[in-house]
Structures are given as C-alpha cells and as structure tokens.
Symmetry: C2
Subunit: 473 residues, 2 copies
C-alpha cells in the first residue's frame, strides 16, 4: 500500500465514522494494538470506531472493495491474540465499543437485545434490575464486551448449568465480509428454517463477520444459593462426587470447580487475605455452588444431605458450607485468586483444555507422569471447571526459580499435554479460542477433513480474506 | 442417465453394501419413497442401505464422482418431504437404518454415543436403564431415528427446559458430500477450536452431509413430577401465567402447553376416552408439567402454591392437579390427541410457527381477524408449545364440510399467517424444517443476505449439488 493510498483510505473511513473516530496516533492506538496478556503487539493502519451498524457495514464494504484487512475488536480481553492486528501497518482495527446500547428487554420472552459494545457486567446488571439472570460470568466481565464473548463463545464458571455463551444467543445481527448486514436479531427458541448462520458466527473469532448486536436469553434469577468447599482425597473422588451431587440436586448444581492443594498453598502464600479454610491439608478441593428459585432452607437441607452422602462414602474428608454470603464470597475468593497466585509465583505454560469428564483422572495421571519424565523441574498448577471437563492445566516450575527454565520449553510442554488431550478426545482450547496463539497448533490436532471444511466455509463467506486474517484458520 | 449407466451404478453400489441392501423393486422402495403425511411420492433409482460409516462414505464417494443425487433418510417421519426422493428415477435414497448400534454410554460424562439409525424410543430407554434422561420427546418417537432428529433439529414438548435436539448434540460423525468422514464424535461441553461444523450439520436436513453417529447429552432423570391442567380466560393470561410459574418454580417447568376450547371439544367429540376434565368450559387451557430431582412432596407443595397464586390473580379460573401417574397420563392424553382429533375432523392447513412469547397474543388476534375477513368459513385449531413460542396454528373449516373449501385455498391461508409471523419476527417453521414443502416459501421471508450466505455454504461443501437436492435451499 502506498502512502497516498493509505492517506486516501483514512480519508474515506473518516467520512464514514467521523475524523474523531479514526485513530492513528501511536498513543491512541496502543491499547487496541496490544493483547491482554501483552504477548502480541501490532501496528494498525488505524483504529476505526463506528457508531452503529450502518457505519460498520460502510466500513466493511469499503475495506472489502479495497482489500483492507479488518481486525474486529470488542473489549480486547482475549487470551489468544485474536483481537489485535499484525505488524504490517496495513490492517485496521474495527472497534465495536461505541455500539454500546441496550436496545430492549422483553420480559415475557425472557430476552434482552444489546449492541456488541455493551460490557458484560452492564448486561448482567441490566438483567438483574429486571429480576433476571444473564449467566455468563468470567474474570474479565468488567471490561469484556458482548461482541467479544459471542465471537469467542466465552465460557466461565456457570457453564455446567447454563451452557457457554453460545447457548445464550438466540439471535445476532452481523456485518458479513462483503458488507452485507445479516439481520438475525430473532428472539426465538425454535426456528428451523435452514442453516444456522448464528451458530457459525458464534466462536468464529471475527473471521466470518462482525457481530454488531445480539438477542440473548435471560434466566430466572436464583432466590437461594449454597456454597460448599469440600476436601477430597483424589481426583477420581471428585468425578464421583460430581455425579452424586448432580443426582441428588439435579440442575441446582450451578458450579463445580476443583483445585489442587498446591493451588491453595500458592493462594495462601502469595495473595492477601486468603487463609486455609480447613484444619488439615487435603490433596484436592471442590468448590460447589447450588442455586434454586425457592427458599433457602430447602436448599440448605439439600446441601447438608449431599455433603453427608459424600462423607459417608469416603469421597470427601472434610468440608465447609458457607453460612452466609460473606462466607460464600470468601470461598469463591480462593478459587478466583488462583490465576493471580500463579502469576505472582512465576510465568507458567498455560493450557486451557477439556476432555470428557470421565477421562479427567486418567488424563491428569498420564500428563503428570509424562511431564515429570521429560521436565523434572516442572509442576502442574491444576485447577478448573470439573463440571465441564475443562482444566486450566498450567505448568510452572517446582520452585519459583525453575519457572523460567520450564517456560523456555513451552512448545515442548504444550506438545506433551496436547498429545494426551488428543488421545482422550479432548480439546486444546476449551474456552479461549484459537486466535493467533493456537492457529498453527490446531492443524496438528484437528483432522484434515475438518480443516478443509473450515477453509471452504471461510473462502465462501470471505473470498477476499479481509476478515481477521491470520487468526483461527 | 442411460439404462446401462444406471445398471452399472447399481452394480457398483451393490459391491459396496451387498446386493441385498440395494432395493429397487417397487414394493421394496414404496415406504422409503413416500413421506409420512403421504404428500410426496418419489421414484428412486434405488434404496441403498449401508451397514456402517465406511460403507456410507464409499457410497457417497461413488455418487459424488458420478453425480448421483443422494437423499439421506433415517426414520422417514418428517413432515415437510425432506427425506423422500423426487420422481426423476435418478436419485438414490441412502437409508441409515442399519446404523442402529448403541456404541457406548459414559455415565461420568453423562453422554451416550449412538448410530444414526437408532430409534428415538430405544435411545430414551437406554438412557432410562442407566437412570438418566434423554429429553427429546415427540409423537413419532417410536419410529423416528437419531440421524433424522439431528438433521431436522427436532423439537417436541420439553424444549422449554432441555432445548431442541441441537442442544443435546455434543458431537457428530458425518459423511460430507465429497465422501470424507468428519470424525467429530466428541463428548465435550467446551471446545472452542474453530467453526462449529456440528451446528452447521444440525438442522441442515441432509443437504450438507449424512450424519452417521452422534454423542448426545444425558440428563439427570426427574425423581418427581407434577402435572396441572389449568383453565384460563384469555391467551394473554396464559403468557402471564407462564412467567409467574417460571418465577416460582424456575427450571422445574418442563412443559407449558396450551390449547383452545375448540381443540378440547374436537378431542372429546372425535377421540375415544377423552372427557372434559373440568365442570365448566373455558376459552383456553394450559397443560403444565413440573419436574424435580427431589421428593414428590416438595414439588406438590410448589405446584399447589403456583396454582393458588395464579387463581388469586384471576389468571386461572379452574384447574386440576394430577394426584397420580394415571391422572397425569389422562391429562397428557388430551393434549396428545389434539392432532388426531383435528385429522378426524377434516383436512386442515398446517402451520408450525413460532414468534417471541410476548408477541403470541397479538399475533393470534391479528391472524384470527385476518383469516376471518378473508376466509369466512375458516376456523383455527390453535394449540402448541407456549413455553417455546411455538404454535401449531392450523386452519380448518368452521364445519367439517367447510374444511375442503378452506384447504383448497391453502396457499392464500399460508400467506396470511406467514406474513403476520414475519411481522412479529417469527419463524415459518419452528420445528419441522423446510424440506420440499417450504423451500420456495422461505425465500419470501428470509432476507436475500441470509439466503445468499446459505447458498455460498452449500456450494462450498457440496459443489456438485449431490446431497439432498431440491430440499431446504
């Protein structure tokens, strides 16, 4: 691209969105050009901030006609470099942040329609104001945006009960790579009229189009909750316990998280205000949340019962049931600060993996053994969403000093873990997506048939390859 | 196609699946060539019945190379002509009926993996034997097969709580139009590694590939159920009641069906062993089912409470709570025999539509008024799944004699109903799909952008157009 051409492009884009919303100064584009973890730093031609869907469509039409690559961006909190530009200086970042209107709430239909730039926490609050729940909840909820959680099919801690973001999306409005607007803001539970384009866009990480708005499901707000922290002797005991708790409590199980003793120790040692909630140490812990639409007493009785049943069977050796919201928050506080503790300890090799729940114990045994054999200085920070088969099976050093050496072998560590994930029919990216980080890696673990089908779809919908090139596929 | 070529094709297909499994005699192919409702009668070149996925793939590869059109077929119980061949004598029906193995059950993962030819009722029974629930339930469950319910994203009476068939599918194995096998039998709740091909195949009605097996979610089996039949003064009262019951009972609401007084009268008059369950007539009825994983007493109390709350607000004028399973079955019996009663009454113009739940009353008012104005002899048989916004808004005659005259104007009646569905952002096919029946109609109600995207995907994955041509798109 010549400078003259670039100048002309910026002029045209400014005509669409206004000069104030085409950012080019290094200090202005900095935050848009760097990913959350600071692993990717790009150089955009410009950051373009349209005010509405019509402007998004006009920008895309212009870029498609002139073969300008677009990197769609919402809250930019992704963990795989999916929402930042490359270093060519030729890609524009298209921020949907200004599409931040809550369009409508339909209480009888239990739906809310919002722009792609609405922050997740705002969405949760709007739902709550209407005595409803929007159940997607994750660490970045204070800054991630609706367009991003849909484009990456974000997970979180309540997937067990409510599903991923995908399951919350009844309809989307999106600008396709040719600039056409797909007007799919339908609030229907049943619609069998052809290929489900919405499901194709969800999780496509901005490579098939730009989501501009969505109609999302709302749920009945829980009226009562019980939070339990249980001490377990083994990981198989946790899998067994999950089953028993679900049998006893049904859909009331809204979270079932696990973490190893070492995770707790790291949190106690490195994070303020975290203490061991039990008298003696235990190899594993499960954090369980039960929710119901009826009174507290019945649920409390159910929690006691479940705890008793697990204790009797020897699946649980100790436990705490939170007696009020403060105690519940303290238990969640432990789980939520494990990533921070890990970060303070040292740089770890991250894995966001899933396997069938039944395969978790064997996968963990095999992976621990293989890592011990090949990387004697390595130690696993093992925690995650057992109820969804999703572990953040991160690999740090045995001591803080060992971390750097282990991290230097990240690629080899990845290979050991991913090979075993693959053996157990798992996923190398359970909830974070592929982005740039795993774009090449996935080609080793997904069949050529699947990759070919994905490429065919990409080529069909984005023949000029302008939409988030270099990501996913 | 010349006769010699056809003979040669049949020979080659026989080499793949065995001579006994290439049917050509008119009496042998009859049931495969005619749809459930008897509206479509095709003439296949042959019915081919492969024994396994390898054979399916070989058949498809041969057909793709020789441009032979394939009509995938499972239980052949669809209502839109999607699984029967045309009359050219050049299409083969590929039946997956012999892929009827239950491959595995994974209790800790709560999944079951089955072949596409497994009958839905068999699947339900296998789940039940393991103390689990497979929740998809519909009239044809005794003969419809897994491949069919996935390919059409079947609905039914429990979608409100458990979702459509789509929501039950964790993984599929499918043969793509080029004969490649997509090996996607994953049992994962979280997997964000690229475009979701599974969701593209679900609901594509055999036009993008042939589903050969699936890994499906299992649910906790309900331990207690309550069934209520309520009399309501108006349809808006039913919408209001749905909200109140969901607020009070949360996810325990597993069904919320409605039907008009006339539906009940038709059932009483024309179906054996159905009596009016209440003392005085009511314009509307709601059949509600609550399910829970805990004891009967608590749920019974909740049902009483909900009924009381509705009665107090004047939303409900009378009601029956089933005191045992026999009574519950009798209440369900009314709802389930409405289609039969309608059929015995006369031929009706069928509509399987959905609109946002909040829009149902207005849609029904407008549609009734428009029909009354244009078709004075018409009367609506109005029943359906209110909890999903899905009505079977069928149009019969005011008297039995009027039915034929109304049916003769079916296309015009459709147009009146579908235009209003469209006005309310609804779907002209909520759970039955497009097939042949609505293939042309949908082009009037879906945007050209969506149709173009669907065509691009179809062309990308099936460039030779061999997979179920003439259906959906």
């Amino acid at each position: 691209m010549t400078t003259t051409q670039a100048t002309n492009d910026l002029l045209k884009l400014s005509e669409i969105v206004g000069t104030n919303h085409v950012l080019t100064a290094a200090s202005d584009v900095e935050s848009y050009a760097t990913d959350w973890r600071g692993n990717y730093r790009g150089t955009p031609l410009a950051v373009v901030r349209p005010a509405n869907t019509v402007e998004v469509a006009a920008v895309v039409k212009y870029c498609n006609a002139h073969r300008i690559a677009i990197v769609p961006q919402a809250g930019n909190t992704g963990l795989v470099g999916g929402s930042v530009p490359d270093q060519s200086g030729q890609q524009i970042v298209l921020s949907v942040a200004r599409l931040n209107q809550v369009h409508s709430v339909d209480l009888h239909n239990n739906t809310i329609t919002v722009g792609a730039g609405v922050i997740l926490q705002t969405l949760q609050e709007k739902a709550s104001e209407q005595d409803r729940l929007f159940p997607v909840s994750l660490a970045a909820e204070g800054s991630c945006q609706v367009g991003g959680i849909i484009a990456t099919n974000a997970g979180g801690v309540q997937v067990l009960k409510y599903g991923n973001t995908r399951e919350q999306v009844l309809g989307v409005e999106a600008v396709l790579p040719n600039g056409d607007v797909f007007e799919g803001l339908r609030g229907l539970r049943k619609d069998n009229t052809g290929y489900d384009l919405k499901h194709l866009l969800v999780g496509s990480e901005g490579t098939l189009g730009i989501i501009t708005a969505a109609t999302l499901k709302l749920w009945a707000k829980p009226r009562s909750q019980q939070t339990l922290l249980l001490a377990l002797p083994t990981l198989p005991a946790a899998v067994e316990a999950l089953q028993i708790v679900r049998d006893a409590c049904g859909d009331r199980v809204t979270a079932f998280e696990v973490f190893s003793r070492w995770c707790l120790e790291l949190a106690i040692e490195l994070v303020a205000n975290i203490a061991d909630p039990m008298q003696s140490p235990s190899p594993w812990y499960a954090l369980i949340e039960l929710s119901d639409s009826t009174d507290e007493a019945a649920l409390a009785a159910l929690a006691e019962q479940a705890f008793g049943a697990l204790f009797e069977r020897g699946l649980v050796t100790d436990g705490v049931i939170a007696q009020n919201q403060t105690q519940a928050a303290a238990l969640w506080n432990i789980r939520e600060h494990i990533p921070e503790a890990e970060k303070l300890y040292g740089k770890a090799v991250k894995h966001d993996i899933s396997v069938p729940i039944s395969a978790i114990p064997q996968f963990v045994d095999e992976a621990e053994a293989a890592l011990a054999a090949q990387f004697p200085a390595a130690r696993v920070v093992n925690f995650g969403h057992l109820g969804d088969g999703n572990l953040h099976f991160n690999v740090a050093g045995k001591s803080r000093e060992d971390c750097a050496a282990v991290f230097a072998q990240a690629k080899s560590v990845n290979a050991v873990v991913y090979d075993l994930v693959s053996k157990h029919q798992g996923s190398i990216s359970a909830e974070h997506g592929l982005g740039q980080l795993k774009r090449e890696t996935i080609t080793h673990y997904k069949s050529s048939v699947e990759i070919a089908a994905m490429r065919a779809i990409k080529a069909a919908l984005d023949p000029n390859g302008i939409m988030n090139p270099g990501k996913v596929i």
